[in-house]
């Protein structure tokens, strides 16, 4: 974890005021939330990751704190401090929701956390993997 990061930290007036309701969150992030929420099993790895969409006036982030069996997610405008982050522009996010590959504009942090998230929530590539994930 990067120095000073603190998953789930809540104190501070700035953070409190930046919590977003879900009704103005880009579809890509909502779909990500749905993907994760619809899966009753935990992520199976530990780490904090943020996926952001750069909008015209602000950046909206989906933040996931993964801790083995648990995953806590939230949306925020304030930039999170996490183990890894990726940022997409608005058009790329729209295209991804319609089935295009993710085109990452900027990224930072520990790539292995991104790989784990992608590996966990991407569709299984084989029957065996599917069984291993318990999604049969």
């Amino acid at each position: 974890m990067a120095p000073g990061t603190s998953p789930g930290a809540t104190s501070g007036l700035v953070q409190r005021a930046t919590m977003r309701r879900v009704d103005d969150v880009p579809a890509l992030l909502l779909a990500l939330e749905r993907l994760v929420r619809a899966d009753s099993r935990g992520p199976g790895f530990a780490g904090a990751i943020a996926i952001g969409v750069q909008l015209r006036m602000r950046t909206c982030w989906w933040i996931a704190h993964c801790a083995g069996d648990e995953i806590a997610t939230s949306f925020a405008d304030a930039a999170p401090l996490v183990d890894a982050w990726i940022l997409l522009d608005e058009d790329a996010a729209d295209r991804a929701v319609r089935g295009a590959p993710l085109e990452v504009a900027r990224a930072g942090g520990d790539l292995s956390v991104v790989e784990r998230l992608a590996g966990r929530y991407a569709p299984p590539v084989s029957w065996l993997e599917s069984r291993a994930r318990g999604n049969t």
Partner: protein, 754 residues
């Protein structure tokens, strides 16, 4: 343990609010799930985290599943009929993420050029691609690979990527052997290491220069080498503000350390990360609060006289008068500077506020002021400011023609920009921490002087009688010509006071007049330089003339918490006005002579009380400020009648010369400041402050301005625009320094954002 208990209490209270006061035990699971989601949102935590922290919820085994289902349903409702296919698309997109990330794992090779000097022209080296095995997991592995691949016609560059240490090979065969110091490193990433064809190694320092020497294999992440400190919760003096940054740094006196920190934030942390430089946490406003990156000021302490003309390190104009100038680090406190100025340089600051514990980086850019009509806000003492901008670049800002010689400066600091421009300077001196991080400043002091203080108690009617019809210009020393004579305060007060302050009670006729006048002392008594009132025995030895009244001083030193409590006594709220009257009465003193900085200082005891305060400014012109006195008293009376609550401290009136700073109060004209003081913990302080502000604004319009370092009285972005004609120019300069808004706090974003 305390934090955990506090968290549990906060969470439980949020849940009770979301349930409309009902007990969680008495509601069904579905209602409880809805309330949990709402409460978690108000506290900005994930519902799962919220549930884990509330005992009543953690026991409801099915709740987590219900919350998850409700969250899923709300997301589905927003995504519509295609929710499931969109999620499937995103899942497939994630499968391609690995491919997408490759561009970040293997970024294009940085361009590297060779500048051999006189004999040959500067030219780019040919990149031969990444070395086999890149990226390596450690710097030493990368170095080993270079050793194996080493040849006498190649230069190697190691850069830190997301995946590890990438080694690039560059060819120089047609040009001869490039030596390490001839390689141009300006465009290289912050974390780069070079190995030239002779095997010389060097690490790129944060100032862009190469540090020769062996490779160091202790790098763990891009922030390695930066002065990182543990990020802890910060609580301000008034105890009305708490925040916990996620990362914290403590840079030292070398500006390059600060530049490296900001460059790191700019290049490695997610866009939108906020940065705030802290001071002494004396401010009541959120001016320095952040839950992003916090820069601690303590390491940036320095006090240096300017170098003599033509001496080593001299970059100043030869004709600049330097005898009263001093360069101070932004982490230096006013107290530290006062002592050094007096004892080592024979100087004083010409004007000060009532407290001396703030850092200069905090007290000056917030527009803090004294009560001397010959001087504007303390920031007017600034002659030059060294900033680090949002991208980590360094800039010095001065009012033209400027103290610094541009040619000498460029020679000595080629990596630093010099801006000698009036608008930029007038924006910078009162910038509320929104333009960058100040590293150091040059201030103009004056020869040291003692002052005598006189305090008398009178009535508000008497104050108005003396001050009406421009009377403030008769009783205060000012640059404004005065042609008429009129009533004075008498009773030992000077005819025209250098400093004058009026303390009034919002709920009574009681008022105290404090005047302070420079005096000449042939010989300073021993121990006079010690802090006033710290030692009652010393105070008694020195005698009346050199000490403030002993009993109130002792009480405020030793019973400050008690005094603060008395001010908020909840049983009989109206006692508050009697306590304020009594404290005003206790101030009477016919003479107190001390070093100037000890007279400006109102006393440690008074400052130790965790008071809350908000300051509003009203012009002196046309006695507008005397109308404001009536408005404030009328509002206090109405508020007390409506709510049964009183102001739990006095109102301090001080007088400040107009300033050219774009965000200073008063639109360039002389002002009276009204500091509305409440004992710490007064629950209605903010509510009453807002009522005061609304009333003043209603009757005096945009003439009412406010103090950036104190409680926000409720001003809107439109109020700021109307009250500060220079606000648009300020925004332009600010954007140049910080295009992405890295230094804008949440409230500041509202005032100065895009």
């Amino acid at each position: 343990v305390t934090t955990t208990i506090a968290t549990n209490i906060t969470y439980a209270a949020a849940l009770t609010r979301a349930l409309g006061g009902r007990d969680a035990k008495n509601v069904d699971d579905s209602t409880l799930a809805h309330a949990t989601i709402d409460a978690a949102r108000t506290l900005n935590v994930a519902p799962d985290v919220f549930i884990a922290n509330v005992a009543q919820l953690a026991q409801r085994s099915s709740l987590k599943e219900l919350v998850r289902a409700q969250q899923l349903a709300s997301v589905d409702a927003l995504l519509g009929a295609n929710a499931s296919s969109m999620a499937a698309n995103v899942s497939r997109a994630l499968a391609h993420l690995g491919t997408a990330m490759k561009a970040f794992v293997h970024p294009p090779a940085p361009s590297l050029s060779w500048d051999p000097g006189l004999l040959q022209k500067k030219a780019p080296l040919d990149v031969k691609g990444p070395l086999a095995g890149s990226p390596f997991s450690s710097l030493s592995e990368a170095h080993e690979a270079i050793k194996k691949a080493k040849s006498d016609d190649s230069t190697f560059l190691i850069t830190r990527t997301l995946a590890g240490f990438c080694v690039w090979r560059y060819s120089e065969s047609r040009m001869g052997q490039a030596d390490l110091h001839e390689l141009d490193t300006k465009s290289l990433p912050v974390q780069s290491w070079l190995v030239d064809s002779r095997g010389n190694t060097g690490a790129l320092a944060h100032d862009g220069t190469l540090k020769r020497g062996p490779l160091i294999d202790t790098v763990h992440g891009p922030s390695a080498g930066l002065p990182t400190v543990v990020a802890r919760e910060q609580v301000n003096h008034g105890e009305n503000l708490r925040f916990t940054p996620k990362m914290a740094f403590r840079p030292g006196t070398n500006i390059d350390e600060l530049a490296a920190i900001l460059k790191y934030v700019h290049e490695h942390l997610p866009p939108g990360t906020k940065v705030k430089a802290g001071g002494s946490l004396h401010s009541w406003s959120s001016v320095a609060a952040t839950n992003g990156v916090f820069i601690h000021p303590e390491g940036m302490k320095s006090i240096d006289a300017l170098p003599r003309t033509g001496g080593p390190g001299d970059v100043y104009r030869a004709d600049a008068k330097r005898e009263n100038l001093v360069r101070v680090g932004s982490g230096t406190t006013v107290r530290e500077l006062n002592r050094v100025l007096w004892e080592q340089m024979g100087k004083s600051l010409p004007v000060l506020g009532g407290f001396d514990g703030q850092t200069l980086g905090g007290v000056l850019p917030t527009g803090t002021h004294g009560s001397v009509l010959k001087h504007g806000p303390l920031a007017e003492m600034i002659r030059s400011m060294d900033f680090v901008r949002a991208d980590g670049t360094k800039v010095r800002i001065e009012r033209p023609p400027g103290l610094t010689d541009p040619v000498a400066f460029q020679r000595a600091h080629p990596d630093m920009q010099l801006v000698q421009d009036a608008t930029s300077f007038n924006a910078a001196i009162v910038h509320m921490g929104t333009m960058g991080v100040v590293h150091s400043m040059v201030l103009e002091a004056v020869p040291k002087f003692h002052m005598n203080e006189v305090r008398t108690v009178t009535t508000l009617d008497d104050v108005k009688r003396v001050l009406s019809n421009g009377g403030v210009y008769r009783v205060m020393d000012t640059d404004t010509p005065v042609t008429t004579s009129g009533p004075h305060f008498g009773n030992g007060h000077p005819d025209r006071a250098y400093h004058m302050e009026v303390l009034i009670n919002a709920h009574s006729q009681k008022a105290a007049i404090t005047t302070r006048q420079p005096v000449h002392l042939d010989k300073e008594p021993a121990n006079l330089g010690e802090r006033p009132g710290r030692d009652i025995i010393r105070a008694l030895q020195l005698g009346d003339q050199f000490t403030r009244p002993v009993l109130p001083t002792w009480l405020s030193e030793h019973a400050s918490r008690l005094l603060g409590f008395i001010g908020t006594v909840p049983l009989v709220p109206s006692t508050a006005k009697m306590v304020v009257d009594a404290s005003i009465d206790s101030l009477k003193d016919d003479a107190y002579t001390q070093r100037s900085y000890n007279v400006f200082h109102i006393g440690d005891g008074a400052n130790a009380i965790p008071a809350l305060s908000s300051t509003m400014f009203v012009p002196l012109k046309g006695d507008t400020y005397l109308k404001a006195v009536d408005i404030l008293q009328r509002t206090a009376k109405e508020f007390a009648a409506e709510t049964g609550k009183y102001q739990t401290g006095p109102i301090s009136m001080r007088f400040v010369k107009g300033s050219e700073a774009l965000m200073a109060p008063g639109k360039g004209e002389d002002v009276c400041s009204f500091e509305l003081i409440f004992a710490g913990g007064t629950p209605h302080a903010e509510q009453m402050t807002r009522r005061y502000y609304e009333a003043l604004k209603r009757e005096l319009g945009s003439d009412v301005t406010f103090h950036w370092g104190q409680l926000n009285p409720g001003q809107s972005a439109d109020d700021v625009k109307a009250a500060y004609p220079g606000a648009e120019s300020f925004k332009r300069v600010r954007r140049d320094m910080d295009p992405s808004g890295m230094f804008l706090g949440e409230e500041q974003q509202k005032f100065f954002g895009a």
